[in-house]
Symmetry: none
Subunit: 216 residues, 4 copies
DNA sequence: TATGAATGAGACTTCATTCAT
DNA sequence: AATGAATGAAGTCTCATTCAT
């Protein structure tokens, strides 16, 4: 399981409850709702039920907070997808399952997924998001490498293929979400199937059709 | 050839050169250098060597200016790639050439490409950027459809495949550029070859290796 | 006939048509339409069909132009009302007729009347408007003085009474116009009759009812 | 007693004095000194001894602040005049007293009174000012109606008469103040007496002379 | 003399961050 | 430790006025 986070920094010593996760939750929800730009510090503090001054005891700047938001959210996504990669089964199955898992989570989440993929702001946050992309890519890379060893897949630049899969999923699933329209997720899920089919072919180098899975 | 732009608005003229392209150039360069966020109106005016009031004679708001920046830049990219798609040759060759063209142009461009692909901004600008993605995708879709007719490629959801190609190129080429580091472009161009290979396999459903082209 | 204007200043020597009245007309119409604030120099120049630079050859500043607008417009109003005061008839009749004339002109004109009465801006323009108020007042004062000489009216401070009449007309007729609503002018004209009745009583010191006149 | 204000909004509190009245006072003084035009947010903040950001914590926009300035000032004036209308005495006495009270307060106040009566500004502020005129008029209307019931005054359009009184007071007292000149208030107060005499005659329809009161 | 593009001071507003209580 | 009022730099946009052609 990938760990995006650097060793967790020393936190403020506190008497009562640790407000760290509380703040992070509030911030994440606000970002999920309306993006980084709209998530102002005052609003986040309000949502967390604490004073703005208190928020600044836990996070020294908005940048830092947003970095944490991206880190933690991304980590969760990577963990889930990575969980799939650990299961038994052929590389092909795992690849399909992992992609589908990512896709179905992105189809919910919408705004948040978009924020993680395409809504940057500051270089520092951008850097973390890149880390997320790479972490996700690494999960796929691992599966591909297994498949190459198995001879399920032909020899290939596994890292590049993994990047491509991530790109396909982002472009295919997240970008269309950025127009606020609440598209019928049915059509999106068949679209997702086409995307994943493409990815499987790209990796396997032969005709494979991805059978859509029950949402999960 | 795609035309993203609406019919061009009537411009100011007389006395001195038309400042429209001058401003657009300055704005584009600033965006290319440091992204939308840093491109403030005052700075753009300075860079263009004009007063802020003059800037506002040509563009009624920052949003409008940024929309033009994205439109014009994106249009140029789409045009170039679309130009490739018009040439003679097999669908496979054209697909490779178009992808390679996009890739090699993105390898220069760096920050600008990133801005066109993944930076934040306002909904209005975002909408235009999405148009760019779709326009690029349509170019690839056209090639794929030709290939399917030719029986070069198997039957497939051409739109989804085209989106995937765009996603692969963005994720594979643009995202890595976003860290300011001046990566060795050699390694990037071999990376690009891997990416394109993946795309070709995804479309063709069989083993194809993309032979890197002479930079152009 | 009152002359509000100071001796007309030396104007620019010109070859072709004198653009002075042209500009004044355009400015007056714009002020009448949307007030001083909205009457920007560029817009006035456009409306007059001349260049902004030319406008500035005739009027050295917006303030000066607005002063002229108020002066000329007010002069016209004063002239019309003064014309009534010159006619034959009892002071009482003339007073009623003059008031009614002012009122009926104000009921058209709307925005312009408001601008002349209540929409000031700069001290310089304000000063001119005050002059207008005083000039109008002087017309009424003349009528009242005649009436006092005639013994139609009791001895009184004619200047103060005249100011009051002006005040009644402004407050009673112009102020209600400031809400953009296009009130039924029927109800306004009966309102006007009540206003004028009040004025006549105030001057005459006995019961007089003003019989509304045919609009003119 | 008229109440122009809507229910007062929830205010900021805690730590330090409530800055609401402080700001309002500063703004009122600036308007009184130089009118709405000169009352810029930065200047108001400076005058109140606070930062511009603080100003915006209390008033969301300049318009809102100006509305409050007009509302609160006007309310005070209306309250004082209305207080007179509640006293015992004949309608005639009350009418004279109310008018005199208004007049004597306007003779101080100068610029501020002018701002409340005749300065420009935005539609939103204008609307509030109109409310002030109407509220003042309503006070006089009440007195007149009492007088009509008493048979002190003849039957008449009480609303129109009340508007006239307001108009007389504004035109007779406020307008002359608008030229910055510090007129001898002695002459003004005898002028005021003439104005009020006119009003009484207008309402009563017979000869009444208003005996100037001791200033209050 | 006419033109109108260019100018730039100045107005309003936002929001991350600080610090006295 | 918590609070939240206060701060003010920074950004966008307007419009009267100037001046080169």
């Amino acid at each position: 399981m990938e760990d995006i986070l650097n060793p967790p920094r020393v936190r403020i010593r506190r008497r009562g409850a640790d407000k760290h996760p509380l703040i992070l939750k509030a911030a994440r929800e606000l970002v999920a709702q309306s993006g980084f730009r709209e998530a102002q510090m005052t609003v986040i503090a309000d949502a967390a039920g604490i004073a703005i001054g208190t928020l600044y005891r836990y996070f020294p700047s908005k940048t830092e907070l947003m970095v944490e938001v991206v880190k933690s959210t991304a980590q969760r996504e990577v963990d889930v997808v990575a969980g799939i990669a650990m299961r038994d089964g052929s590389a092909c199955e795992k690849l399909g399952a992992a992609a589908w898992t990512f896709a179905s989570r992105a189809l919910r989440g919408r705004r948040l997924a978009h924020a993680l993929v395409a809504e940057p702001v500051e270089p520092e946050v951008e850097a973390v998001r890149l880390t997320y992309h790479r972490a996700l890519s690494r999960v796929f890379k691992t599966i591909i490498e297994q498949g190459v060893e198995n001879h399920e897949f032909p020899t290939q630049n596994a890292a590049a293929s993994a990047d491509c899969i991530v790109g396909c999923l982002f472009e295919g699933l997240v970008a269309p979400l950025s127009n606020g329209a609440a598209d019928a997720s049915t059509s999106l899920s068949s679209h997702a199937a086409s995307i994943i089919t493409f990815c499987l072919r790209g990796v396997a180098g032969r005709m494979l059709t991805f059978p859509p899975m029950p949402a999960g």
